[in-house]
Symmetry: C2
Subunit: 345 residues, 2 copies
Amino acid sequence: MLTNRQLLILQVTVDDFIDTAQPVGSRQLSKKEEVPFSPATIRNEMADLEDMGYLEKTHTSSGRVPSEKGYRYYVDNLLTPQMISKEEIKQIRSVFEERKVETEQIIRKSANILSELTSYTSIMLGLDVRKHRVKRFSIVPLTDDSAVAIIVTDSGHVENRVFTIPEAFTASDIEKMVNIINEHLVGVYLHELQMKLEAVTQFVLRQNNGRLNDLIASLNQALVIEHEDKVYYGGKMQLLSQPEFNDVEKAKNIMYWMEHVNEFPGLFHLNKKGINISIGSENNQFGMNNCSIITASYDIGKEQSGSIAIIGPTRMDYKRVVSLLDVMSGDLSRELSRILRSQHE
Amino acid sequence: MLTNRQLLILQVTVDDFIDTAQPVGSRQLSKKEEVPFSPATIRNEMADLEDMGYLEKTHTSSGRVPSEKGYRYYVDNLLTPQMISKEEIKQIRSVFEERKVETEQIIRKSANILSELTSYTSIMLGLDVRKHRVKRFSIVPLTDDSAVAIIVTDSGHVENRVFTIPEAFTASDIEKMVNIINEHLVGVYLHELQMKLEAVTQFVLRQNNGRLNDLIASLNQALVIEHEDKVYYGGKMQLLSQPEFNDVEKAKNIMYWMEHVNEFPGLFHLNKKGINISIGSENNQFGMNNCSIITASYDIGKEQSGSIAIIGPTRMDYKRVVSLLDVMSGDLSRELSRILRSQHE
DNA sequence: ATTAGCACTCTCTACAGATGAGTGCTAACA
DNA sequence: TGTTAGCACTCATCTGTAGAGAGTGCTAAT
């Protein structure tokens, strides 16, 4: 167990390192008024903290730097939420000022503001389209053997797919099918679409409209709506401004990773509700040892939820980021729920 | 006017520098078998080339480096197209193998392959949506006061906008309007849309259907189809591998620029037909002094055209890039024209 | 238990000298 | 007269050294 003095010193050390990015020494610490001890005392405590694995030295006579274990302890036990200034809250709220209805734009704008306020990179997952419901289905023929299928969801989102028409179907055939599908599919969640289309096929068979079968099959093939996570970034280059990425090799690594985020589907969904912090090698699997990722979830109505994340160096300003994410996720919950509700009225 | 020997030496110097990124010296050059002269002779010629502004020294006793004027001369007069291996042509052709109908995917894939083959960054402009024609217009009501307007184009592209319904219009009002609009607007280019909607307004007024006016106005407002160039990148990070971007500051600059390409609408459209090379400070306005941009245009049918570009350091492999762009733009012309034609049949 | 003092370690910077690649110029050569 | 060998010179880069500065660990005094 750590003594109060050790807690204090650990906290101040981490804070200082986060601030300056320089190893912090005992003399330097003793100058701070929060720390009323002499350098020698601090040295002793730091040595103990090092033995326990919370601090590290870069070389024998350097100051100390927090270890991952140190950050972890700091984050779990010493994190005092930071006040967000009114100015900044106002800036966050500005996202919702324009009364946009397009959730995509709201999310995109949020990402930008978040990265501006933190000076790290933000990543936002778009809403899961598959949890929206079909509002209207229609087909527009393009050529003799191709047409575009359009699904409008209750959220105003539009999915469209070009598909091939297997034989020569007349316009009235297609119209008939559109009617059947609308009858059966309006109100259905997009992720149930495939399944429900099966039911339609059965229905069509029973109605002796068997000739529509091929058409539905082709349609069914085109309408696979992947769980394709739309990912929005804010301030991709912000990371390059951090001193830890002065080395181009490291910068390249992290940029590469960001381009391929969608290939790691686990990243956000594994997270629990609320705010979650993953430090350094804890997200080693993703090849970013020098980075921490803070994610926050928000709820939209009862069924949907979204994720925001900030990615920065392990030496990131946890206090501030956590507080900002807290405000932002709360606002997103509230505003997106409001929009969704108005659409279901 | 340059002598043949000077031409040779300039060419070999540029080639060598492109290859090694190191200033090239006279001794080094004389070792090459294409250059049967002694270092002293080469020194004399190089001194002359420097006087004429084609070469530069980084310091008094360094080897020479091509100046921008040198690159320009090289590009204009000494560029011998490079053979593209069958392997590589095959790789390019693989874009079109899957018989995709979605031009967007073809373009995206092209961008990736191009950057893979060149190890620079590629930028592709999506097709200009505004040159497509309206195939079908429809409206799907979402709530009492909002609806989504959908335009399907002859190319299978779908544009959609959420707009607010000013007063309580009945479903039949809206249906009426959709019919009127379809009557007037099918076949119209998207860039004419605004104008033609004016005409519809006039028509509606004359038909004494004046009450639809507000509806059309709101719709008109939503249907601004910006000349928003969709920009696709391939291999954004490739540039970071180039030695000239080892300096993080420079890397940041260029990355920043790339994120904001769409804010420089002039970049691609000013270019003439065919292949165009812009070296170093020639694209100074865009803040990329160390880069060259090679653009190539391709034609789709009679009316549309597209642009591909490769962006790399001034010390880029012009020979190779030009040849690759040549092949790629030819293929894109051919294949996209084919697809377009099939859609107009 | 805390702190002052001291020897020690390690990094960083500056400076000097050696090295080597390259140049310009001049004189000899074909 | 065009080409080349030779030579002195320049400059970047590397190496080694010395000193400053920041920090540490340990010990003894408070």
